[in-house]
């Protein structure tokens, strides 16, 4: 059974703020209790909606239209905004626009993202994600490339070889290895 305390623990863990002594038992419960695992998944979804490119997994036309309409209706996207290059736009205005876009996308993503998961719970392919992200790029940004999902395209050996030699710069050298092995497994 999931308690309020469980929710607090999961929230703290996702934020990297959970006491290590509590983290181990929480992970055990996530692994063994479906209710706790479902709660865990919900909190990660919120995180995704706020930070991940997965929020752009709304590549279905009707949904994309809803997103476009929602963004159009945001006050920050009214006729007053001049499409200057992003770097020259005042920072405060970019921040307001960014928050408005994030709020609009996050709200819709909360409802929409589960609809684009298959029965196994996998997220929409990254190709769709990137395409949708491109279509929702902030005004003034240079046009982005068409980007496809490379999973299953036989590129794993390049990713692994890159991980052998590349460093992350900040984290232990292991970080690059883990990044590469993660991509291989995907």
């Amino acid at each position: 059974m999931v308690t309020e305390s469980d929710a607090e623990l999961i929230s703290a863990w996702i934020d990297g703020e959970l006491d290590p002594a509590l983290a181990s038992s929480l992970l055990d419960r996530v692994a063994s209790e479906p209710g706790v695992a479902a709660c865990w998944a919900r909190y990660h979804l919120v995180q995704d909606a706020l930070h991940s490119h997965e929020v752009a997994a709304m590549a279905v036309a009707s949904c994309e239209a809803r997103v476009a309409a929602a963004l159009r209706d945001e006050p920050a996207h009214g006729g007053h905004v001049v499409n200057l290059p992003a770097r020259s736009r005042p920072r405060s205005r970019r921040l307001v626009q960014g928050l408005a876009i994030a709020a609009g996308i996050a709200g819709i993503a909360w409802v929409a993202v589960p609809l684009f998961r298959d029965a196994s719970g996998d997220a929409a392919p990254h190709g769709a994600v990137v395409a949708a992200a491109r279509s929702m790029a902030a005004p003034g940004r240079p046009a982005r490339l068409d980007v496809a999902d490379a999973s299953g395209e036989g590129l794993d050996s390049y990713i692994a070889a890159h991980g052998d030699l590349a460093g992350n710069g900040f984290m232990p050298p292991a970080a690059a290895l883990l990044r590469a092995s993660f991509a291989e497994e995907k």
């Binding site: 992970l27 991940s52 590129l155 292991a174």
Partner: protein
């Protein structure tokens, strides 16, 4: 500008609350955690360059162990990491706790990968004298020419107070990073990579960490004796691309750190072993690999930018060779690098 560590959590809480979603029923409080308060002890006074130096020194030269969590999209992997330095050589053991049973043991530039189910050890050996991670090779001043560093508020990760540091690229050629750094050691406890629109690409963070405690030799031994296992060696040799007729033009801020000749592929029907040149480019934080295969019959689409995990990938033919560029940078950057590659027959 001060950014609280729990910024996104409070946003998530508000969003969840707004939408009436909760794990324990409507109206459940998910914020205001006990123990989440951030202590107000001051961070060491460091300049921007001193922060970068402290972080790079800690990543390689500190002794630490802990649980390391990699998150990308809605997927997450947890690994146990032990890192120390013996006779000036960084040694690191990594045990992924999910997915295929495997372990990595890195000694300087040599990496042994133990694949339990295949009873196989793959040893990758870099050229002597080359040092990574990439940050080591770039002066902080060079990094700061391409990234703006902001020291923000205090955070808390894995029970440790940490300093929030934001690195924002000054152009669209690279991604940005949000770090939380343990102030005394300089160890980055959390690194979030974000794209040009501020969306998270991936995140690496310790969920449990101990810094500076001595490491016992037994902690650096693999879990399996690997007796009777197949052992494959992949030794990279340093090469001079220009003498071979190849030219790669790095974009602004990137430079070629090393070029090696090495083997690619698992040796399976879908992933045949083949020889390639690998040039590693870096701007001090982001790294990009350029692979050149003189005789290759690619099975994947060419002239299309791909995304594979956190990496962008672009392949094209140059004469009869295949050039493939891979890196944790925007797709436009790998595309531009791939299109810069030229071959002029040296004979």
């Amino acid at each position: 500008m001060r950014v609280e560590a729990s910024t996104w959590r409070s946003k998530a809480s508000r969003l969840a609350s707004c939408l009436g979603v909760s794990c324990v029923g409507l109206g459940a409080a998910v914020g205001g955690l006990p123990g989440a308060a951030v202590a107000a002890d001051p961070a060491p006074a460091r300049t921007e360059t001193q922060w970068l130096e402290a972080i790079r020194h800690a990543a390689e030269q500190q002794t630490y162990r802990g649980l390391f969590v990699y998150t990308q999209g809605d997927s997450m992997r947890t690994s146990r990491v032990v890192h120390t330095v013996q006779d000036g050589v960084p040694i690191e053991r990594v045990q992924p706790l999910d997915g295929r049973m495997r372990e990595y043991l890195r000694r300087g530039d040599s990496v042994e990968c133990f694949y339990h189910d295949d009873r196989r050890v793959v040893v990758s050996q870099g050229p002597r004298g080359a040092r990574f991670p990439a940050l080591v090779s770039a002066a902080p001043e060079d990094i700061l020419r391409h990234y703006a560093l902001e020291v923000e508020g205090r955070g808390r990760v894995a029970g440790n107070n940490c300093q929030l540091i934001r690195l924002t690229p000054r152009d669209d050629l690279r991604y940005g990073y949000d770090l939380c750094v343990e102030p005394a050691s300089g160890l980055a406890l959390k690194v979030r990579t974000r794209d040009q629109e501020g969306r998270q690409i991936d995140q690496m963070a310790f969920s449990d960490v101990r810094i500076g405690e001595p490491v016992d030799a037994s902690e650096l031994r693999p879990s399996w004796p690997a007796v009777g296992w197949t052992r494959e060696e992949n030794v990279a040799q340093q090469v001079d691309l220009e003498r071979l007729g190849w030219a790669v033009s790095p974009p602004d801020g990137f430079r070629i750190e090393r070029v090696v000749s090495r083997r690619l592929g698992e040796g399976t029907a879908k992933d045949a072993v083949r020889e390639a040149y690998q040039a590693l480019l870096s701007d001090g934080l982001a790294t990009v690999s350029v692979f050149i295969e003189v005789a290759a019959a690619p099975s994947f689409p060419l002239d299309v930018a791909h995304r594979h995990g956190a990496a962008s990938v672009y392949s094209r033919k140059v004469g009869t060779a295949t050039v493939t560029v891979v890196g944790e940078v925007p797709p436009e950057t790998v595309t531009s690098i791939a299109r810069s590659v030229e071959f002029h027959d040296p004979h």
